[in-house]
Symmetry: C2
Amino acid sequence: MTILGTGSAVPAPGRFSAGQVLETHNKSFLIDCADGTQHQFTKYGVHSSRLSHIFISHLHGDHCFGIIPLISTMSMANHTNDIYIHSHPDLEKVLKPMIDYFCFDLEFKIFFEPFNPLENSVIYEDRGLTVSTIPLVHTMPTAGFLFKEKEGEPHLNKETLDFYNVPLSLYPDIKKGADFITENGTIIPNSRLVTPPTKPKSFAYCSDTRYTERIIPIIEGADCLYHEATYCSDDLVKAKARLHSTAAEAATIASKASVKQLVIGHYSKRYDDLTPLLTEAKSIFPDTILSYDGMRVDF
Amino acid sequence: MTILGTGSAVPAPGRFSAGQVLETHNKSFLIDCADGTQHQFTKYGVHSSRLSHIFISHLHGDHCFGIIPLISTMSMANHTNDIYIHSHPDLEKVLKPMIDYFCFDLEFKIFFEPFNPLENSVIYEDRGLTVSTIPLVHTMPTAGFLFKEKEGEPHLNKETLDFYNVPLSLYPDIKKGADFITENGTIIPNSRLVTPPTKPKSFAYCSDTRYTERIIPIIEGADCLYHEATYCSDDLVKAKARLHSTAAEAATIASKASVKQLVIGHYSKRYDDLTPLLTEAKSIFPDTILSYDGMRVDF
């Protein structure tokens, strides 16, 4: 995952607003797309050629103003994949006039895939993963996204297969659970022929949101949780008023949901030094990372 | 003048697309406004508080995608001046749905001031200056802008005025050309009481355009000419096909129009090293400056 922006509504020097690219299974998924996102692609060497799906958490400008410029530039860079924009239904109505005016001669199509941000449901699925919505609590209907790999196939235990001269033609069945019977009738149980599949990984994106424990069952055990931490606890009043979270609250959610790693971001412009946010989060959830523009997170 | 972006349609690393801010007479004027312009304001320490007028040369995204994000951020920064957007008439139709959706609670108003890019006419005037359109030749109706200071009042020659004990109440008339008659009836001619006004300055912005000599009478003698130089002469075929200019062509216009200084920009992404563009322009017009993002030009 590459984090393209860690600022909030008003960007700060060196901090663009929301955007991140998740690269997995030979695909790129863009999550939120603030003004200037295309510049962050260029600056941080993220390629857009494998991008087909854009997920927009909510219709505040700092999460969606960059869509049209990005599409426009992708078009000039000879992009060919169709683009699917998953968002609140209003986005199509708002962007359509701009698309019609500025993007009328694209080599690819743009599809709007509306979802209901108030429901937890699967909004995207392919062979390798699903994306489902995480209803959040903000000043407008907002959803986070849970990217979850599907359970893969078991790995073939080449050593054992070779030892028993198992023909290649049986490999597919063995992957599906079949035992192997040798020429002399000995049954080799499947458990000796394969090793368990790689544990599927998951990533949860929760921005923007007030502290809400309702998301915990959805994000439970995620390998990585990105949770907004617009404020530090000293500014809890502001966080409550504007329906954002503090770093301590983000860490509490991470802890209660037993995630493996917490990445915080979406910092208010008021903070030049972000150390206090990291300190307070780490005191609750030690495996916290302070994101910065251009940061790459592997999990 | 601060140059916010020197890239062309597809931004290059370190080169945002079109935008510049002219600061004069205690006002700021924004000329073109590409995606990410608000970030360039922040990065280069340009304040938007005195901004009221935005001039858009034409409706390609790399000249206007930044308007809504800029306005949105200005609103959050408690901007209060009304904003006037001078552009081709289509812009209002295209931006209106976004303004209605994202900018419904502004403390200031947004007015669209359409102009006809095919005509040379005054589109803005205040006590200190006028702005007029410069019809250009591009793939869509496009106009450059000529910012021209008005002739100021003569400066009072304080030494002479004090010597003859001229009462303060007569200063306004003297500024307008009146002589002074001393108590003994001697006429002191106005030419001894004042020195000539500061010579009014002018700035011409010409982007995007194919080489056209029709602009010469309009920009003649400008103190500063910003002229696009998307390509170097080796790529003249591309320049002609896409209705852009080469650096040599920009310099030829500067020379024929006898401007004082030429600033080139709007470089194609294909050039990492811009030295060849500067070299070919300077060979024709020595007073050429190669602009870069964040450059300040005083004139």
